[in-house]
Amino acid sequence: MRRGSVAIVPLFLAIALLFWFIWFLGGANDNLHKVNQLENLQHTQDRLLQAAIQKRYELEEADPSLTDDELDAQVDTYIKEIMKVNSIDDKE
């Protein structure tokens, strides 16, 4: 064994640290990963609120004969489609 090969020890340590970190992530409280997805959803909902109101009036403008229930249903479908595209709602 050459003396110089001791230099590989820090590398092994680094790799071990990486594995430990992956293991740590897996076992961590799900606060850590829900941040991304949950917050994302909430932000998406924020944005879509305005879009929903806007869409409702646009639909009404396009066809004033639609009833309130019909408009609500159409907007509901519209938002659902956006959610599906964003892989939030399950595709039926």
Binding site: W23, H33, Y57, E92
Partner: protein, 560 residues
């Protein structure tokens, strides 16, 4: 079998209940209210809620203690929105128009008494007579005034460069001017802006300021005051910065461009294809001795052009121009007028014969009746209620501050006009035994003056207004012999004595000549009545502009 079915149902219910689903719900809007600029607004709440939201934990594959996924039953957000609607009929016509140009507010003040006097049989339709601000009277229920106050010297975008070349946006004012010129050119072939002389109230002369004010006024009528310079409720005229500094008791008004009218009469003298000077000897001999009537290919025409730029006329034309665009029906009418007699080749050949026949006809039946003072004429323009232009008017109680705003649909424009004579020039056409010709001018409130050759014998020193109008009227209308025969005003039966007199007078006129009006100046009196229907602004109408703003978003709710 039943077990199997239950299992299927169970599985189905299970899948549905665990599928991620987003639902959107709206609450009913709140009562409509008015903001400080008179726009309608209401609030509405919307909720978006996602059920069964699953958060997957990919990393749990690397740790035996990790959770594979967590499921949130509902995650929802709700927010309140303010939906504001402003009446911007004109502005919505052009999608490239800079939205800053249009607020929908009109430069008129509506007397609050108007709203207490709906038209008979209705509760929400009002007949509003448009009058000038100087006639303001707070007891009047039909007052309607041009308003141009409460905004600093800034009114609209630069007129020299109305459009923004970089953004391609149309300027507020550029749009208005162009659409007007387009309409007027198309319909009556005149240039609406720039051709008429605008007099300044204060200086009494045409000025660029006055022109500027007029253009601003017209732009304001149709498009509404610019957004940045809207007037607000309770704004007080006396305390505000104004371009024309008001005295303390100046009612909220005023547009300082004068009502001016110009009528030009031009005489054109033409022989064959040659235009002769109307002041030249040839022309004067021909017209002075009445030879133009007998001479083939000699043509003497008087062309009268009337140009007027009344506030009422402008208001009417502006409203009509805009409604024309909205309804795509040209409602324009000619603002000036001219008449020219042109004879064809054949007519020129038989001219002496025609003239003779005319004289005979005039002797028997009188000349064609011309009313120099016309009876008031009413023109009514009715608009389709669905398509009608919506307008927002400030309401005032005493003319010094804006108490309220109201929205109306313009259902009808009624334009009433008649004219008033200011001066009249009468010419005596020589007859067979009296070859002398003369011209007299009568001016309201003044004495008659001799214009040309002063061989006038008939004298009357003092004119009261009726007499001289009658005189002009008589010059315009000559009675024929049959008119005297059936002169109902003298008892309604055939009066032989009167007839004899009339025959003699009509016969005599052929020999002694007749009076003829060569020129008269009159001023047109106008009235403008608008039929307005009070409405709430509809947020989905294309006549209005809708604006949605987030008021607040509630704290997100989520449960596991």
């Amino acid at each position: 079998m039943i077990k199997k079915a239950l299992l299927v149902v169970g599985l189905l219910v299970g899948t549905i209940s665990t599928a991620t689903q987003t639902t959107t719900t709206f609450k009913a809007p709140t009562q409509t209210q008015q903001d400080e600029y008179g726009n309608d607004y209401f609030q509405r709440e919307a909720t978006i809620s996602t059920a069964n939201f699953k958060v997957d934990n990919f990393w749990n594959n690397f740790n035996e203690n990790g959770t594979a996924s967590s499921n949130y039953k509902t995650i929802s957000r709700s927010g309140t929105f303010k939906i504001t609607t402003s009446s911007t009929s004109a502005c919505t016509l052009d999608s490239t128009l800079d939205s800053e140009g249009c607020s929908g507010q009109k430069p008129f003040l509506l007397n609050d008494e108007v709203l207490n006097n709906p038209m008979p049989g209705t509760t929400d339709t009002f007949e509003v007579a448009f009058t000038e601000a100087p006639n303001y009277n707070n007891n009047d229920y039909n007052g309607f005034y041009p308003l141009d106050i409460l905004r600093d010297a800034k009114y609209y975008q630069d007129t020299t460069n109305p459009d923004d070349p970089t953004t391609g946006k149309t300027g507020f004012f550029g749009f208005i001017t162009r659409s007007f010129d387009y309409l007027f050119n198309k319909v009556v072939g005149i240039n609406f802006f720039g051709q008429q002389d605008i007099a300044d109230v204060q200086e009494g002369v045409r000025s660029t300021d006055a022109q500027d004010r007029r253009e601003r006024y017209i732009a304001n009528i149709i498009a509404g005051l610019e957004k940045a310079h809207r007037v607000t409720k309770n704004a007080n005229a006396a305390t505000a910065t104004q371009i024309t500094a008001p005295t303390l008791n100046t009612p909220a008004s005023l547009l300082h461009y004068a009502e001016a009218q110009k009528s030009t009469t031009t005489t054109q003298c033409k022989f064959m294809f040659i235009n002769l000077s109307s002041e030249g000897a040839m022309c004067r001999i021909m017209s002075g001795f009445g030879m133009d009537a007998w001479m083939p290919f000699f043509n003497l025409t008087h062309t009268t052009q009337i140009q007027s730029n009344f506030i009422l006329g402008d208001t009417e034309n502006a409203l009509l121009a805009m409604t024309s665009q909205i309804e795509d029906v040209p409602y324009m009418k000619d603002v000036g007028g001219s008449d020219e007699n042109k004879l064809s080749f054949l007519q020129n050949i038989i001219k002496p014969m025609v003239t003779m026949v005319d004289i005979m006809k005039n002797m028997m039946f009188g000349t064609d009746k011309k009313e120099i003072v016309s009876n008031p004429v009413e023109r009514v323009y009715e608009f389709n209620e669905d398509e009608a232009m919506t307008m927002t008017f400030p309401i005032t109680n005493d003319g010094t501050q804006i108490d309220d705003f109201a929205h109306f649909k313009l259902l009808k424009i009624r334009s009433v006009y008649g004219d008033e004579i200011n001066s009249c020039t009468v010419k005596k056409v020589p007859g067979m035994i009296s070859p002398s010709a003369w011209e007299d001018e009568f001016i309201e409130g003044g004495t008659l003056s001799h214009k040309s050759p002063n061989s006038r014998v008939w004298k009357k020193e003092v004119w009261d207004s009726d007499q001289w109008i009658d005189w002009c009227q008589e010059a315009a209308n000559k009675k024929g012999m049959f008119d005297y025969l059936f002169d109902w005003s003298t008892g309604g039966f055939i009066n032989p004595l009167n007839w004899m007199k009339g025959m003699f007078s009509a016969f005599l006129s052929v020999f002694t000549g007749q009076y003829e009006i060569t020129d008269f100046k009159n001023s047109i009196q106008r009235g403008l009545i608008l039929d307005l229907k009070k409405v709430d602004l509809d947020p989905i109408s294309i006549r209005n502009t809708r604006e949605i703003k987030i008021l607040n978003i509630n704290t997100p709710s989520s449960d596991k």
